[in-house]
Symmetry: C2
Subunit: 147 residues, 2 copies
DNA sequence: ACAAGATGTAATGTCAATAGTTACATCTAT
DNA sequence: ATAGATGTAACTATTGACATTACATCTTGT
């Protein structure tokens, strides 16, 4: 598994919701139109974000809203909401513990430290990025283009 | 693409080569036996490591040897030898630039910074891990088990 | 009450990437 | 020359990401 498009789509949705909130009702088909992917994909992603407490989605009537301060929402929270196994599946190790060779029996243990370090550094970096910072970047981009 | 098993297999091979070097001839079928994967997979991985200047493989007669100081070989070098596109394919962004929505037009740019940060942090962490440090960990493990 | 429009989710299909396998050409020491 | 090894292309299998269809469920307006 990689850090998949789901994550970028999720950020896209959150950004969209923030920009449009209060102006019009944000439905999954609207977000599908903006992101270029299927409404079901959107609904699944929104569902994950909802479970993580980042947004609310009104059943029946429809409409998504942020339910947390954008400066409190980190990229890691978003990623984690979408990928339940977190970063554990990002790195693969070949299975070979059952073999006689002492290298085979210990390789997993040897790789544990480096791989955990990598995951921790990804986590830390993701935690340092807030939705607010991305909103700011977006706003700067848009206003500079209109100037 | 993820950080695939190729990487762990490569470390396995390098560790094996270091431990066995001088004791007996290290062939691809021997490494296949130790890692539990196909000799062709091994040969492809060794071929990549060879191109990166980390090992030599004797044609015809067979036998792999390290050709760099283990303390100078980093995990990043190993990873990079195997994955020509480096970390660029680790993170996916959904394609949507052609759409009307301003969010769609700018999302890629907004994500550029955070995603580059992530890649850089992975790279830095990988560069901080040397083959020597993994050899040391391995030796410690083996001697402590025999004690 | 009920129709319209929205979400929630299961089931299925498609495609690309990873990994495994076979096959064979090539090389080197004996 | 032959035995044993590497180098690589070609093919298959499997897995995971993503798309799509279908349908149940919910809420509001009438």
């Amino acid at each position: 598994m990689q850090i998949s498009m789901k994550c970028s789509i999720a950020v896209h949705c959150l950004l969209f919701i923030h920009e449009a909130e209060g102006k019009f009702k944000i439905t999954s088909s609207l977000l599908a139109e903006s992101t270029g992917c299927n409404p079901v994909i959107i609904r699944n992603i929104l569902s994950s974000l909802k479970k993580a407490g980042l947004i609310t989605v009104a059943r029946g009537t429809g409409g998504a809203k942020l339910c947390a301060d954008p400066s409190k929402i980190t990229l890691y929270q978003i990623y984690n909401a979408l990928e339940p196994d977190g970063l554990s599946t990002l790195i693969g190790i070949h299975p070979c513990e059952e073999r006689k060779c002492p290298v085979a029996q210990n390789i997993r243990h040897v790789l544990e430290n480096p791989y955990n370090k990598i995951k921790d550094s990804i986590k830390q970096t993701m935690e340092s990025v807030t939705l607010q910072s991305m909103i700011d970047d977006f706003d700067t981009l848009v206003t500079s283009k209109n100037a």
